[in-house]
């Protein structure tokens, strides 16, 4: 009898007082439609609880990175005039491989995989 009551109450209590863990990291998101982004342009999208930068380099070439600058966590953006990724906070620049070109960022940007499925652009973490 007690065991039955305990088995009934335990999940209820665990739901009411869950362990302190955050949501599992997102591994893949739909970044939008192919036609939404022109060649030589970029846009910020939500990747879990962090921003990501999707860049359409040319008609067929896409790149995606974590949009969190490795210096002080500002959000980076794509600059079509220089074809580089730029952080407005301290003028850090990265190339289209995510490598630091100039400025204070100590590390490259994390790169994500980009796949086009039909007319959708999918960004996913690399294995």
């Amino acid at each position: 009898m007690l065991a039955s009551i305990a088995s009934f109450l335990y999940p209820v209590l665990k739901f009411l007082n869950p362990p302190l863990i955050t949501e599992a990291a997102v591994n893949e998101v739909v970044a939008g439609k192919v036609q939404d982004l022109k060649p030589n342009s970029g846009k910020i999208i939500k990747f879990g609880n962090k921003p990501a930068l999707l860049v359409r380099v040319s008609d067929t070439e896409w790149k995606a990175f974590s949009a969190v600058c490795t210096h002080l966590n500002c959000t980076v953006q794509y600059r079509d005039s220089t074809e580089q990724i730029w952080c407005a906070c301290h003028n850090g620049t990265y190339d289209l491989n995510g490598k630091v070109v100039s400025g204070p960022p100590p590390n490259p940007l994390t790169e994500y995989a980009v796949n086009v499925r039909g007319d959708e652009v999918i960004i996913s973490r690399r294995a």
């Binding site: 009934f8 739901f15 302190l20 609880n49 966590n73 500002c74 906070c89 100590p106």
Partner: protein, 417 residues
């Protein structure tokens, strides 16, 4: 027959693979005392790894086992080079594009020219042999490539290398310069970054130069700092403080507020309070002091608001609520705080207030999102508790009914009257 053929091929190959004879190392490595040390150290030297030998610096004939031949003046033996002659000796190879192309085609060849412009080089030329030459920084006999983590000029080791002389009060006494640079540097934000593995963080050479090492002049301090802190330097150059600080004694530029070797992580304690650097010039109650206090209040206010929002969002996230949109937005708020700190270098409150205002709006927006998520969580749990209560009553009622049924011994349940 086949074995003979293989042997005929291998023997010349093995002979070619033998290192060239070096009688200097052979003899000195079996001697006792300090004369043995170079022969032991040379194994780790980058020059040895590239096929060079003792004789390439000291002269002589390394192929002879006869000391009178190996170390004869006729064979060019110079023995221990004079200290004043060391930079020129190194430059004989390192200043030659043709020679260096064979080993390090991308390496610069102007080290000696730069050295001659440095404080070290000028003093050496004037006859002061107390100053640093090539071997004091790069070591001697066990010289390693500058990217080798064991090299004394590797970024992680360079401060200590410079400090070997510059922290030596006895050695520096006759120059009348401070000896606390290394001590201060080791408390700095730059050293902290370097220790964490950021090899781009500045060391002594990043600001003073390496071969052309000298103290930055007053007018070049902002340019030195600005080579990394580009936007800060641009704003500072247009600010009201630029002409005033440039005329300051003891350095000028950025170091008026941030100091030089012991640069700390900047906080609002630099603006107000007992350690405020603004108070060094702006007395309490003056417009400058009031502006500094206002800036500190804005920065602290935004920082606190963002931290409060972050704490609420984290709590909601840990409670299983979906707040990722607000968390991404909070990143924009933190970015505005960084931009406000940057804009402070205009020393124009109105320029700084723009990112502060934008950041506060985001902090409030994300706080509301977090509080809404927590409220939603409470509502859901209350709903679960109520429904759980009624489910429990139902279960108990069914259980009681089953017991009554079993007690009657019949399959008939009397209707409740």
């Amino acid at each position: 027959m086949r074995l003979v053929a293989i042997g005929a091929l291998l023997v010349p190959a093995l002979l070619l693979a033998q290192p060239a004879k070096d009688s200097c190392v052979e003899c000195h490595s079996v001697m006792d005392g300090p004369i043995q040390k170079p022969a032991l150290l040379i194994k780790n030297d980058i020059h040895t790894a590239n096929g060079l030998s003792c004789a390439d610096c000291h002269g002589g004939d390394r192929t002879s086992d006869d000391p009178s031949v190996a170390m004869s003046k006729a064979k060019g033996f110079v023995g221990k080079p004079k200290r004043a002659a060391i930079p020129q000796l190194c430059a004989n190879c390192h200043g030659s594009a043709d020679f260096m192309r064979r080993y390090q085609p991308r390496q610069r060849i102007d080290q000696f020219e730069l050295y001659k412009t440095s404080v070290h080089g000028k003093r050496l030329a004037a006859g002061d042999e107390n100053v640093a030459t090539c071997i004091d920084c790069h070591s001697v006999h066990d010289i390693r490539g500058v990217k080798d983590a064991l090299s004394p000029v590797h970024p992680l080791r360079l401060p200590e290398t410079c400090g070997r002389c510059h922290s030596d009060a006895h050695k520096m006494a006759k120059y009348g310069i401070p000896t606390d640079q290394l001590e201060h540097y080791r408390t700095s934000v730059h050293w902290a970054a370097l220790k964490k593995g950021d090899l781009s963080a500045p060391t002594c050479a990043s600001c003073h130069g390496n071969h052309g090492a000298k103290p930055p002049e007053v007018e070049s301090v902002a340019a030195v700092c600005g080579s990394c802190h580009v936007l800060f330097a641009q704003l500072y150059e247009k600010s009201v403080h630029q002409p005033i600080f440039s005329a300051a004694s003891g350095g000028g530029g950025c170091i008026v507020c941030h100091s030089n070797h012991g640069i700390q992580d900047p906080t609002t304690a630099m603006l107000v309070g007992p350690k405020a650097v603004c108070a060094n010039c702006h007395e309490p109650g003056t417009p400058g002091a009031k502006t500094a206090a206002q800036m500190a209040q804005w920065l602290d206010g935004l920082d606190a608001a963002l931290k409060r929002s972050s704490a609420v969002l984290t709590e909601a996230d840990e409670d299983g609520m979906e707040v990722s949109e607000a968390q991404v937005r909070l990143g924009d708020g933190n970015e505005n705080l960084i931009k406000a700190r940057l804009a402070m270098h205009t020393f124009q409150p109105e320029e700084m207030h723009k990112p502060i205002e934008a950041g506060m709006a985001i902090a409030n927006e994300t706080l509301r999102a977090g509080q809404t998520a927590l409220h939603e969580k409470d509502v859901r749990r209350l709903g679960l508790a109520i429904s759980g209560f009624f489910i429990a009553i139902t279960v108990v009622a069914i259980w009681l009914a089953i017991r009554r049924l079993e007690a009657n011994g019949s399959g008939y349940i009397e209707p409740v009257k």
